[in-house]
Amino acid sequence: MSSNKKYWKSVEELNENSSIVKTLQQNEFVDQIPTEEFLGDRNTLESSSTSRRDFLKYVGFTTAAASLAACEGPVIKSIPYVVAPDEIVPGVPNFYATSIADGFDFANVLIKTREGRPIKVERNHLAKHSGAVNARVHASVLSMYDKNRLEGPKVMGEDTSWIDFDKNVTNRIDELKDEKIILLTQSFASPTTSELIIKFQKKYPNIRHVIYDSVSSSEALDAFENKYGIRALPDYDFSNAEVIVSVGADFIGDWQGGGFEGSYAKRRIPKKGKMSRHYQFESNMSLSGANADVRVPILPSLQLEVLKALVSDSYIKLPKHVSVLVEKAKKQLKKAGKKGVIITGIPDFDAQKMVLDYNQDSVVMDVKSPRTTFMGRSSEVEKVMNDVISGDIKGLISVGVNPVYSLPDARFRDAYKNLPFSLAFSMKEDETAVLAQIIGATPHYLESWGDCQFKKGTFSLMQPTIRPLFNTQQFQECLVRWTQSGSSYYDFLKDFWSNNILESSNQWNQALHDGVIKSKAKVKTDADTSIGEVLISKKTINTKKTSGDLELTLYTKTGLGDGQQANNPWLQELPDPITRTTWDNYITISATDATRLGIENNNVANGALNGSYVNLFMGETIINKVPVLIQPGQAQGSIGLALGYGRTSSIQKEMQTGVNAFSLYKEFSPIQTVTIDRIEGEHEFACVQLHNTMMGRDIVRETTLEVFNTKDASKWNTVPVVSKDHEEISVNDPGADLWTSFDRTIGHHFNLSIDLNTCTGCGACVIACHAENNVPVVGKEEVRKSRDMHWLRIDRYYSSEESFKIDLDKKENISGLGKSLSEFGEMENPSENPQVAFMPVMCQHCNHAPCETVCPVAATSHGRQGQNQMTYNRCVGTRYCANNCPYKVRRFNWFLYAQNDEFDFNMNNDLGRMVLNPDVVVRSRGVMEKCSFCIQSTQAIILKAKREGRQVKKGEFNDSCACSAACDTGAMRFGDINDEESIISELIKDDRAYHLLAEVGTKPNVVYQTKIRNTNEV
């Protein structure tokens, strides 16, 4: 059927007499193409010596010449030292013990340097209480090589010298002699810094020192100070605990500085039939909740009631099912006696006091040598904030804190801008520094001197591991100059230590080598120098609710913490252990509330996760467009949101992720009441795990303590059977094998054991692996396409019923098509309050590896020592191996991730590349890569032994893999199984040991230890 429609090409056609339309009827173009101009000039055309053919010849020749010339190798220059330092041998790493104390993370660490540049953070085994060497600490080395760092001091936005900086600062302080100036600092936990600050205040009495912790532990500090007279936090040794009851305290996360998982894990492996029992009452699903034996989702407002019920006998307001569980917990606590402990994260003085009182006889809590890290007093900080806003304070010196970003009152920003005097000591031009009149560029902790006292009686040193990369000076260095306390901070530090901490000055070198020293020296710290009267900040947790209100719990994520290292791509791409989502913060909400509010999460065509946006209202504070993620286990009526995101100043565009939740951190309380409104639009999450449940399979094997104690291993840790000649034989039977096995009993045979009981999912291993193996960062878009490059992932599974056990039973009882269709469908969805299991998965180094047999170019092959080896230069990128891998641990380089502007992360700038490990190649585009069992480390150990003409020492291979070396809980154990005295040779024979997907017959060299849940009731 022909159409009667007339199509108009342009408005011009409406004009009947348009010349343009007429011309266009004849010609293709309105204006003649000026061919005449260049072809018409016969003379030039003919006189030209270059014909079209010649031109083509030239093109051909140059192309050929260029490609031939490309065959020439480039000239590589090698520049040796003029005067080589004695201790540096190119190619041999040096290690230095130092400490990190950035105001949020406090830990003793060991730094590996190569040719004078730090490349990796490791745990310092000489430090018994090393603090929390978590994922952020492991990643901190990359933060030093941040190209957005300040390169020198600035005055009024202009680069200046330190001499002018000094002049400006002292002049300004002198001008404001009679006005209030506040020195707002992070918690340093440093005796020398306290001393210097006291001297500074003596010189300028108008300056008042206020300590500000961006994430406050103020109430716990107040309670402790009230009870024990010293501003500190109790330390806990959970290896002594039989029963742990946590009410809203994520102690495996960042609660009170974290670092408790080491002692916690010790009691989580059944010994003599006993292990600790862990109750967790909380609203957000936290790492602690995920690891607990009993997790009770409960609104923040009811947590205080739970606590009251635990320590006294009031059960008001508590729902029935909670009271039952509280009662059970209470019974167990009673039975455990001194070995029971209650901890709480409720931001309330009374709650904290109650817990201290309860625990005072407990063997778990240590108050004699408490933690002296966090010192902040939120009432004081609040006052500073209000005084700056009111104009009462004329000058603000901030050190290591970012108040413009992290203070909750939005008016502070403008008030700060208008301050007569503002000086910011900062590593970067962050939100505060960018507004400050004077900026003191500070070095990274790896470029600094310093000392710390993390725990009373244990002192540690901080030493530079590299010369300052930029023209930076420590705050302490400036204080030494301003107070004329010596020639340099180093001298001051050394003198101070000789006079106060060391028994003799000969000890200095030893202390510096070890990084830590125990001393009974009485040293004045911020803990003792706090103001006389104890200001107790009483805050009432707002529980008044109208319908529709939600209780918000603010928390910090494993990746970014308080947001200091927001420009660190390793941390941005580290999947959150619980949500498995990267590059974002978001509201977590329960499925029930989500349905009620019309909030959806759905997977789009390529599997990536999308979610709804909401606007969040809290009084006058509004945060627009916050993505929402449905979180199994989130208490109904509550939501969670992570702090530390939404930073923009001096943050690379790719890393300006999430929303700033500090604006909701009113009165420095993580618990708030808010309302949310769904708005249009869908947020694109970068979630690395698309399937949340195991659907009744025994990928993570688990059993209960009761079964473990009473029944034979074959009952709860069965070896799969296969059928041969219609008879069932064990999968380990040689008859079940397609392949012949090599004899590996001679030489080394490496195995890795992963204990699912003690793996808390903290993610330190993921970052350690990143640093050791030059694993690239791919960015949010690529992660969404499931192209993340992590060699080691920590799978997190939820149960679809109340527990994994019920899942398993449900699956067993499915029969018939109809039932299987409906019930398997149901099993894909996690329960409202699921059990959680973590499982680190890396290349399993199968002895009968499916990947090796399908590689057309033999780029992946098996080593005699059990390692499945991947030869990058041989790989042609068919990806057959990845397809044939049952564990999905192979990672493909879809793009060139180094020196590529499309992936502008640390491998794309000279500074960021300094963190690369020179012993491991940076992979190129189009090749497959995967975990190598850190073959560079095992080879180095073997070589060392050979060079010294000896056998490898017993246990020398233990924990030489980056992941197992980083594991605080000892969940990952690496070693040589042919070494009879190694831990690993015991572990592979353990009753709990099993292979992942053993039924496939791949014979992996990674062995898992069955998870045991303590379900014992009193």
Binding site: C71, G73, V75, I76, K77, S78, I79, P80, Y81, V82, V83, A84, V89, P90, G91, V92, D743, I746, G747, A859, S861, G863, R864, Q865, Q867, Q869, M870, T871, Y872, N873, R874, D919, V920, V921, V922, S932, I935, Q936, Q939, I942, L943, A945, K946, R947, G949, R950, Q951, V952
Partner: protein, 419 residues
């Protein structure tokens, strides 16, 4: 590398010797040879003949000072200074109060001998002689001669055949035999029409072409023989060859690290603080004269910031940008200490006759095939290393093996070198 022109060298040596002998004849008191030996073992560390070192230049020192005074000074300089001798005190002050070692062991005769050596006149600098190239190609000439004779014989044969053919044709024409020359196809047409021959030759051509193509592509990225010009002309021939300095003295990290290490300049200065000029053999044919080498030493002083006249460091350092000769690709892990210390491989095994290299070059192809070949052939010394001893013990128990190559111990596994 160019071959050393030995003829020229020996000629020069002769000239040198002649000059030397005339000099010795000119001397009257003292044995110059004995003096030279004493001078080199006792004095050369601090004194040079024509240049200020830690102490003053010593040429013709016998003329400057009274001989008796010199005896006293050399046997006990501090004593002389303490005695208040004005000359001695002045000299001591001039050289920054640096104490001269006393040599009470030297007899007056020994000192005479040394002074005789220092009184030799300064040798005239040699002028580079243009290389005489015609005389040294005997081998080549012989080959050329044989070739020429062969060509001549061939030509003779061709003419002979031609003449014979011509006369035969004439003869047959005379006899009335007709020759069908017009119908005869030219040779190339015959070949073209012979399909089998064409096919075979095409295949042959392709095979040969493929062979050469393969050879061409296989040598891409292989820099065997790469001998770049370095910022300072450093002669391994002089250091490792003539002076027999152990490789590990400068490349010390080869024993500890994966890198052999390019020595830092302070290592050079351990010796060159005292060696500011070249006194060895000269290779005039290539322009490697004393003057040339002295200039290179001056470059070192410039880089390290050493003021030779003042005998002090200026603190102005200019790191030398050497051109790296042996470049393994990034995806290969190679460890020097494994080969040098554990395996005991001589440096020369891979790096060639370094002690003969005036200019350092890449001796080995450094290809994977080359590595593998060696790993396949080399037996591991199982006896003198506890590490191997244990493995060997177990292996011999189980499989009854006596000898093991590196390959058999896992030296061919991909992951051992590629990670």
């Amino acid at each position: 590398m160019k071959k050393v022109n030995y003829q020229n060298l020996s000629l020069l040596l002769l000239v040198f010797l002649l000059a030397f002998s005339t000099n010795t004849l000119a001397q009257e008191e003292g044995d110059v040879k004995a003096g030279e030996a004493l001078y080199k073992s006792n004095c050369a560390a601090c004194h040079k003949l024509d240049k200020k070192g830690v102490g003053p230049a010593l040429r013709n020192v016998a003329e400057k000072y009274d001989r008796e005074w010199l005896y006293k000074w050399i046997t006990n300089s501090q004593g002389l200074i303490k005695s208040g001798d004005s000359k001695a005190v002045a000299l001591f002050a001039e050289y920054n109060n640096s104490v001269m070692t006393s040599f009470p062991g030297l007899s007056n005769n020994d000192i005479d001998n040394i002074l005789a050596y220092t009184s030799l006149p300064k040798p005239e600098p040699k002028i580079a002689v243009a290389p005489v190239s015609a005389s040294n190609n005997d081998d080549g000439n012989l080959q050329n001669l044989i070739l020429a004779i062969l060509v001549l014989i061939l030509l003779l044969l061709v003419t002979m055949f031609y003449l014979v053919a011509k006369s035969l044709t004439k003869l047959s024409q005379a006899n009335g035999v007709e020759i069908k020359s017009a119908t005869k196809k030219p040779l190339w047409k015959v070949i073209v029409h012979n399909q089998f021959l064409m096919l075979v030759s095409a295949i042959m051509f392709l095979l040969v072409a493929a062979y050469f193509m393969y050879a061409f592509f296989m040598q891409i990225g292989i820099d065997q023989g790469y001998a770049p010009v370095q910022p300072i002309h450093y002669s391994h021939k002089i250091h490792a060859g003539a002076n027999e300095i152990d490789c590990n003295y400068c490349h010390s990290s080869a024993r500890k690290s994966k890198h052999s290490g390019i020595p830092s300049l302070n290592v050079c200065m351990n010796c060159h603080k005292n060696i500011s000029e070249y006194n060895g053999e000269e290779d005039l044919a290539n322009g490697y004269t004393k003057e040339f080498y002295d200039k290179e030493i001056a470059k070192l002083y410039d880089a390290v910031g050493w003021d030779d006249a003042e005998q002090s460091y200026t603190g102005e350092e200019k790191p030398v940008k050497w051109v790296r000769i042996h470049n393994l690709p990034d995806f290969v892990y190679f460890n020097h200490s494994q080969h040098v210390v554990v395996a005991g491989v001589e440096c020369q095994t891979c790096h060639g006759p370094v002690e003969e290299m005036e200019i350092m070059y890449q001796y080995s192809p450094l290809t994977m095939g080359w590595c593998i070949d060696c790993h396949r052939e080399t037996n591991v010394d199982l006896k003198n290393n506890d590490y191997y001893e244990k493995i060997h013990e177990e292996l011999s128990k189980k499989y009854n093996v006596e000898k093991l190559t590196a390959a058999e111990l896992g030296g061919l596994e991909c992951g051992k070198c590629h990670y």
